[in-house]
C-alpha cells in the first residue's frame, strides 16, 4: 500500500482518520488554556515586578528597563533548563512557558546543553539555534518587510 501523494486523503484514509480520531484521547484544550493563562500571566507579572525593581533601585527608566528585565528572565530560564526543571514545568504549563521570552531562552539553552557531546564548535555552536532559528529568521524578515512597506507607503504619501 503506497501513501497518497495528493494532499487530499483517499476515501479509505479519510475513513481511518475518523475511526482513529474517535478513539484518541483528546487534548484538554480548556484546561491547557487555563494553565497557560495562569503560568504565562505569572511569568509576565514577575517580569513586571523585576522591571519596577530595576527602575526603582538601579536607576533605569521606563524606556530602557526592558533590557535588563529580559536578560534576567533569560538567565533564570537557562538556569532552570540546566537544572532539568524547566521541561517539567513546561509539560504542565504549555504555552505559558513557551510564549514568553523564557521559551526562547529554553530553546537555545536546551539545544546547546544537549549537543555538548558533539563538541563545542559543531555540537553546541552548530545546533544552538535548532528551534530558535525560525523565530530569529522570521522575526528579522518580517521586521524588514514591514519597515520597507511602511517606507513605501510614506513615500507614496499614505499616512499611517
Amino acid at each position: 500500500m503506497s501513501s497518497n501523494k495528493d494532499d487530499k486523503l483517499n476515501l479509505e484514509q479519510q475513513k481511518y482518520k475518523d475511526f482513529a480520531q474517535q478513539r484518541e484521547s483528546k487534548r484538554p484544550v480548556l484546561t491547557n488554556c487555563i494553565k497557560a493563562f495562569v503560568i504565562g500571566g505569572g511569568v509576565c507579572a514577575f517580569g513586571q515586578i523585576i522591571q519596577l525593581m530595576y527602575i526603582r533601585y538601579f536607576g533605569f527608566t521606563e524606556k530602557n528597563a526592558g533590557d535588563p528585565t529580559a536578560a534576567t528572565l533569560i538567565i533564570i530560564s537557562i538556569l532552570l533548563t540546566g537544572l532539568g526543571i524547566y521541561d517539567n514545568i513546561a509539560q504542565w504549563a504549555g504555552a505559558g512557558t513557551a510564549v514568553p521570552i523564557t521559551g526562547f531562552a529554553n530553546t537555545i539553552s536546551s539545544a546547546a546543553i544537549e549537543h555538548r557531546s558533539e563538541g563545542y564548535v559543531l555540537g553546541v555552536g552548530g545546533n544552538m539555534f535548532k528551534i530558535a532559528g525560525p523565530v530569529i529568521v522570521f522575526g528579522t524578515f518580517s521586521a524588514f518587510a514591514v519597515a520597507i512597506i511602511k517606507m513605501l507607503l510614506n513615500y507614496m504619501g499614505v499616512f499611517r
Partner: protein
C-alpha cells in the same frame, strides 16, 4: 499594583493565543513562536503594539511577540535617521540584550550542565 495585574492578564491572554495555536491548530512550538513574532512586527507596523506596551507593561514586553515589535522599532528608528539602509542597520539595535544574553548564557550553560534526560 495595577500595572502588575494588567501585565498578568495581557501576558496570560497572549499565552492563551499561543496555546490555542498549539492545541487547536496543531502548530509546533517553533511555528507558534514564529507566528507570534511576525504578529508582533505587523502590529508594531500598524502602531498597535506600543499602546499595548504602555498599558500592559511586561504583559506585552515579555511574550515573544515583543521581539518582533522591537526588531521593527529598531528598523524604523534607523530608517528615519539614515533612509532605506537604516532598515538593515537598526533591526537588531533594540533586541541586543535579549539575543546576546540567550546566546552567551546558553553557551555558558553548555559548559556547566549535562542534559538530565
Amino acid at each position: 499594583m495595577e500595572k502588575i495585574i494588567w501585565a498578568f492578564i495581557v501576558g496570560g491572554l497572549i499565552c492563551v493565543i499561543g496555546q490555542i495555536m498549539m492545541d487547536v491548530f496543531k502548530l509546533t512550538p517553533a511555528h507558534t513562536m514564529s507566528a507570534l513574532v511576525v504578529a508582533g512586527a505587523i502590529l508594531g507596523g500598524l502602531g498597535l503594539y506600543e499602546p499595548l506596551v504602555k498599558f500592559a507593561g511586561a504583559g506585552a514586553t515579555v511574550p515573544i511577540s515583543s521581539f518582533g515589535n522591537s526588531l521593527l522599532k529598531g528598523a524604523l528608528e534607523e530608517l528615519d535617521q539614515h533612509g532605506p539602509i537604516g532598515v538593515l542597520i537598526g533591526i537588531f539595535k533594540l533586541t541586543s540584550a535579549g539575543v546576546s544574553s540567550a546566546i552567551i548564557f546558553g553557551f555558558l550553560a553548555s559548559l556547566v550542565f549535562k542534559p538530565k534526560g
